[in-house]
């Protein structure tokens, strides 16, 4: 059996990659993808703890997170399309003023 710590380390690495992606990348779609990676890193932690503690709660929460993530992706992509129509750009730095 793979020890719990392995999962946690992998989860932490995925989360760090996702966070770095959010901060570093200059493309809105890539940023959304990075957010998905962060969410899935957390999902992995939940599942790993659930298995280690012999409980199904972790898996149930993961289902909720996946549902929310799907909704978030739908709304997020819709906003990205809206923004793109205004500026013809996917760079988040194009929107530094909160009005137009």
């Amino acid at each position: 059996m793979v020890p719990l710590n392995y999962y946690l380390v992998l989860s932490a690495m995925l989360f760090a990659i996702g966070t770095a992606g959010v901060f570093v990348r200059r493309n809105l779609i890539t940023i959304l993808l990075s957010v998905e990676i962060m969410l899935n890193a957390v999902n992995l932690t939940f599942v790993a703890f659930g298995r280690a503690l012999g409980s199904g709660d972790g898996q149930i929460i993961v289902f909720f997170v996946m549902t929310v993530a799907a909704a978030e992706a739908a709304v997020g992509l819709a906003i990205v399309i809206g923004l793109f129509r205004h500026r013809e750009s996917l760079n988040p730095d194009s929107w530094t003023v909160l009005k137009w």
């Binding site: 959010v22 988040p92 730095d93 530094t96 003023v97």
Partner: protein, 639 residues
């Protein structure tokens, strides 16, 4: 029933204030006069009920509601009719009604809205004055006290387009405010000392005490109350507003500044007679101030040329008499003089109003003369008023003035008596100077006025008082003759006694002395008339020679002892300078504006720096969020 007395004029005020400009002049006048007449009728009924009660329990109390109840402090909105208040409400509503009727004719040239405004103020004044005299505690009295001050201000400044009228209104208001400040302090101190502001309870608390020897709490309370009285009743040092108040319409001068409001101070002392009787120091001050005011105003009245100003100074002088009476403990005599004075002074003012009306606004005595022929009703009624105020036997003023002088002498104030007698002489001189200048001799038309077209039209048909005015004049003239007989056999005094009880005025029963003193005061009155007749009727050149001979004192008197100038230099200018240079330019501009602007500038400066944080870059926000979360987690998770 008692509540209706002040409520009826108040209703009249509300009607005229809200609908007056629409219902027309006749209706507005009718509403105002009707309200006063109804109030007079109710007053008469109430007084008749009062008289039917036993002499010792003569009081009708009508408690409307508890106004303020806070801890120990309880103030009921209660009206109380006792003999003293009965005299006052009859004077206020009776003479008030006549003056309302007179005003309907006097003000007929005003436009409808102005006319309604005038009558609404007049009704409001009557309501407040009745509240003042009927209030059973200091608080209710104070509401009336301030209310009449307000109406006085509104009516003095009735023709506010005229700069001098607006200024006179403000002067009256501000000078009264100074007095009221003392009055309020006196009431507060009375509450601290006695734990109540009800007149009856204070009187009961004070009655068993022995009179204060020195300057104790009661003396200070009464002195402060007297400061309020000097403001309202125009005594030294706060009398300066009353002569200027003549800028208002003449019926207002008759009602407010002769018959009713200015006597509020005298009434207030009478109302608190028991309290004042326990402060001999205050009583001395009251008597001395009253006498000094009587003499000073009497001398000024000798040389004034404005018909209304002569009467104004005469009012101040007569009020001084009332305070003299109060000061020597002759409360009934003081109130009696108040009552007779209300008749003849209202009559004199209304008569002067009829003269001014007939001459189209002319107030200068030097441009009058010979009016006896043209204005017979005015002349005869005015003459009766003058005889009454001069103190000729048989007329109202004789009874009351003689009583005051006798009481003063009997209480051992020989010096005050001498000054009072001198003032009586002056009174006769200045009143008959006025009569002879206005009604006798020839009119000396003024060149500048003849070229004035409006004046010419008025001069051409000089008309005597119209019916409404003549009615008021004749009724008041009858009053000026018969009012004095109310005191025969001490009836008036016995009627009022319960109001001043248990303080009994010292009984003086020296008939011989009284007769001697009466003879002396009759001599003073007739002598004064004779002097006036010699100088202003027989031999005007002698008067001019006298004026030249005593040019210095004459100038002093004509300028009213320069009191206005002294007040201006000693009080008004320093306040103005301090206000402008210190309060305005230093404290207001530098400190207060500086603080406000400083706060604004601090916020602006801080925002200037903080706005750099608001870059608008979403990733920068996210990074700071992330950093924050890491720091918080690190803080809690660090072992």
């Amino acid at each position: 029933m008692l509540l209706a007395v002040p409520a009826l004029p108040l209703i009249g005020f509300l009607v005229n204030a809200s609908l007056g400009r629409r219902i027309g002049k006749a209706a507005a006048g009718a509403v105002a006069c009707g309200a006063m007449l109804a109030s007079f009728a109710v007053s008469l009924l109430a007084v008749m009920r009062l008289v039917s009660l036993e002499p010792d329990s003569r009081a009708i109390v009508s408690r409307a509601f508890t106004w303020i109840s806070s801890g120990d402090f309880i103030a009921d909105f209660t009206l109380r009719l006792d003999p003293l208040a009965a005299v006052m409400i009859l004077v206020v509503t009776g003479i008030g009604t006549l003056i309302h009727v007179y005003s309907t004719a006097y003000m007929h040239e005003e436009t409808a809205p102005e006319y309604a405004r005038y009558f609404s103020y007049l009704n409001l004044f009557a309501a407040f004055m009745l509240l003042l005299v009927l209030g059973s505690n200091f608080l209710v009295m104070f509401v009336g006290w301030e209310g009449v001050g307000l109406c006085s201000y509104l009516l003095i400044g009735f023709w506010f387009e005229k700069r001098s009228a607006a200024d006179a209104g403000k002067k009256a208001f501000i000078v009264n405010r100074i007095g009221d400040f003392g009055f309020v302090l006196g009431v507060l101190l009375a509450f601290v000392r006695f734990g109540t502001i009800d007149f009856q309870q204070i009187a009961r608390a004070v009655a068993p005490m022995s009179p204060e020897a020195g300057l104790g709490t009661i003396s200070i309370i009464t002195l402060l109350l007297f400061v309020g009285a000097t403001g309202k009743s125009a005594q030294i040092p706060l009398y300066v507003w009353l002569p200027d108040a003549m800028e208002g319409p003449t019926p207002v001068s008759a009602l407010i500044h002769a018959a009713t409001m200015v006597t509020a101070g005298v009434y207030m002392i009478g109302r608190n007679a028991v309290l004042f009787a326990h402060a001999p120091a205050t009583l001395t001050v009251v008597a001395v101030i009253g006498t000094a005011t009587a003499l000073m105003a009497g001398t000024i009245a000798l040389v004034q040329n404005d018909i209304k100003r002569v009467l104004a100074y005469s009012t101040v002088s007569q009020l001084g008499y009332m305070f003299l009476a109060m000061g020597v403990g002759a409360y009934a005599a003081g109130i009696f003089h108040l009552y007779t004075h209300a008749f003849f002074k209202a009559l004199l003012f209304l008569g002067s109003g009829a003269v001014i009306h007939a001459l189209g606004g002319e107030q200068d005595l030097r441009r009058m003369g010979g009016l006896k022929r043209d204005l017979p009703i005015t002349y005869w009624t005015f003459l009766i008023g003058s005889i009454a105020i001069a103190g000729v036997p048989g007329f109202a003023g004789f009874f009351s003035k003689d009583e005051i002088l006798f009481r003063t002498f009997a209480s051992g104030h020989a010096l005050l008596w001498t000054v009072g007698l001198l003032t009586a002489l002056l009174t006769a001189i200045y009143m008959f100077r006025l009569v002879f200048l206005a009604f006798f001799g020839d009119r000396t038309p003024d060149q500048t006025h003849q070229t004035d077209p409006t004046h010419l039209t008025h001069e051409t048909h000089l008309h005597d008082a119209p019916p409404a005015m003549a009615l008021a004049l004749i009724v008041l003239a009858i009053g000026s003759v018969v009012a004095g007989y109310a005191s025969l056999g001490g009836r008036f005094e016995r009627f009022l006694e319960p109001s001043f009880a248990p303080e009994r005025v010292a009984e003086v029963a020296d008939r011989g002395l009284e007769l001697t003193l009466t003879a002396v005061s009759i001599a003073a009155a007739l002598g004064g008339i004779a002097i006036a007749a010699y100088f202003f009727l027989k031999n005007r050149r002698a008067a001019d020679r006298m004026a030249e001979q005593f040019a210095g004192p004459r100038r002093l008197l004509q300028n009213k002892y320069y009191v206005d100038e002294i007040y201006d230099a000693a009080i008004v200018q320093p306040i103005r300078i301090v206000s402008e240079s210190a309060l305005w330019k230093a404290i207001d501009v530098r400190v207060i504006d500086g603080a406000v602007n400083g706060v604004g500038e601090t916020v602006t400066g801080a925002s200037e720096m903080l706005r750099r944080l608001q870059t608008g870059s979403v990733r920068a926000y996210a990074a700071s969020l992330f950093l924050g979360v890491v720091l918080i987690l690190g803080y809690y998770l660090w072992p």
